[in-house]
């Protein structure tokens, strides 16, 4: 019985350790596990959680409010599907945050050599909040903020 358990465990570990090599090049879930658990404070539009996450990802929260074009609706009628997109001339890493959900971080992109940082994604927003995009370009950080008013919650029932 003991031996059986041990074998099962060994197989599980092998499966887990194989997966990153084949499918995962730079997975920030594994590299920066803490970033995904940083919480938004329970106050509307309090950006302190977002700023903490920026520091955890980029190593600094010194940002310039320029260079990033961020597109998000002024008013989202359905918080379950909020289209957000951004564009820059170039960047090596981009991260997306919001203050509408329990945790701040939505996604982190590593821009490959062939990549053009004009990305779009649809996100959930539980309530009115601020969407923040931060991009790293030649060692400098650029940032854009936008308030999105959510008229129906993003819980999706």
């Amino acid at each position: 019985m003991e031996r059986r358990k041990f074998l099962g465990f060994g197989l599980g570990v092998a499966a887990i350790s194989l997966a990153p090599v084949s499918a995962v090049a730079k997975n920030y879930r594994k590299e920066l596990p803490k970033v995904w658990t940083i919480k938004n404070p329970d106050k509307e539009n309090d950006l302190s959680g977002v700023n903490e996450a920026i520091k955890a990802i980029f190593g600094s929260d010194k940002t310039e409010n320029s260079g990033v074009k961020l597109k998000a609706p002024d008013i989202a009628e359905n918080g379950a599907v909020v289209p957000v997109s951004f564009s820059l001339e170039k960047a090596s890493k981009v991260a997306l945050f919001q203050t509408s959900n329990p945790e701040c971080t939505v996604a982190i992109w590593d821009i490959p050599e062939a990549g053009i940082p004009e990305y779009g994604v649809r996100i959930k927003m539980k309530k009115t909040g601020t969407v923040v995009v931060v991009a790293e370009v030649d060692g400098k950080l650029y940032r854009a903020d936008k308030v999105v008013k959510v008229t129906a919650g993003g819980c999706g029932g």
Partner: protein
């Protein structure tokens, strides 16, 4: 997974939709299920990365992504994802 990849003047624009419930911890709790969502999305052409995203529970259900990269028509784009529970899916699409 549905993928549309179109090339124009050396730039490929990709629109893709993945089928996934994207159960956040909040929603999963309400539904009495376990949280599970896509955590990593990767796009490759000729074995080279053209798109790489680490994602969270806050992407919408059946996530839709749009991205661009330098490339040409005729090649094949392979898009794959991994979720929190380790399920993976990948699909190839010809760049038009």
């Amino acid at each position: 997974m549905r993928i549309k990849a179109k090339a124009k003047d050396g730039v490929v624009t990709v629109k893709a939709m993945m089928k996934h419930e994207m159960l956040s911890y909040d929603i999963a709790k309400k539904k009495g299920k376990e949280a599970n969502f896509i955590v990593y999305i990767n796009g490759k052409v000729d074995g080279k990365d053209v798109y790489e995203a680490s994602t969270s529970q806050f992407l919408s259900k059946n996530p839709y992504i749009k991205f661009k990269f330098k490339g040409e028509a005729g090649k094949e784009l392979e898009l794959s994802w991994v979720d929190l529970k380790g399920n993976t899916k990948s699909k190839k699409a010809k760049i038009k």
